[in-house]
Amino acid sequence: MSTVERVRIVTAPETGKVLSALIGKPVQVKELPPAKTLDDLHVVATYVHEDGTLAAAFALDLTVAAGLAAALTLVPPGVAADSIRARKLEPMLEENLHEVFNIAARFFSSAKSPRIVLKWTGVPGDAALKQFWATAPTRSTVELTFAPYKGGRIAMVAH
């Protein structure tokens, strides 16, 4: 596999379909101008090629992170709202969010594309990650709505 091969990102409607299948609820999507920085994004995951080189990153704002994590296992919206107020996901939602990140590898993968796997999740403070994000040639930012949870903004980049 060539590490210079461009990684694709799924379209906004496909993003909605994947997330809708994941949480078992309709997810409305609205394409936004691509996020050039990780500012205002609460949590980020990185994805690597099989040789360990960084391939892609996926970030969420706090409200959508809490909402998706809660919706995954039918946690009441109030629990997500508590985490948003506290500006920190409670452990159960953190665990659920990890599974969201795991499945989000689908945003960068297809049957014929090189294998991409989840490598790391955390807060978007690392300088190398910020550089990776800023220089990514392929990017997508989408606003999600999935009542009764609070929606928000997700952003993806790929090299």
Binding site: A21, L72, H98, N102, I103, R106, R115
Partner: protein
């Protein structure tokens, strides 16, 4: 399908697979769970499930290594993967090791019903 073993390191995903199985008409089946391949192997030996639904990427033992270990012991349990892996290479590896299907996450209850029909 009397007894179905769900193997996934994610508690959330085990819950989702269980829920989907019930929605797909397997509410009468006994659903048992394991959080990694190594403990799943012990459960398969002890409980002899009718079907194993396993994740691919797990700590201690990958799903594919679990399947190979099971077959190496001569066990013919029906085995399917439920995984975020979608590449053709992965699907081929699963088939060659003796998996009946590879269901990609995320999935719907209809998807799991269709997959389970292939081993009914």
């Amino acid at each position: 399908m009397k007894k179905i073993l769900i193997v996934d390191d994610s508690k959330a995903m085990r819950m989702i697979v269980s829920r989907s199985l019930r929605q797909a008409g397997f509410g009468e089946s006994t659903l048992i769970e394991a959080s990694d391949g190594a403990s799943a192997l012990e459960i398969i030996r002890a409980e002899q499930p009718d079907v194993v639904l396993s994740d691919w990427n797990m700590p201690n033992m990958l799903g594919i290594d679990l399947l190979r270990a099971v077959r190496a012991e001569g066990c013919k349990v029906k085995f399917g993967f439920v995984t975020s892996e979608v590449s053709e290479a992965t699907k081929q590896m699963a088939r060659e090791a003796g998996a009946a299907f590879l269901l990609s996450k995320p999935f719907t209850a209809d998807d799991i019903k269709t997959a389970m029909k292939t081993i009914a």
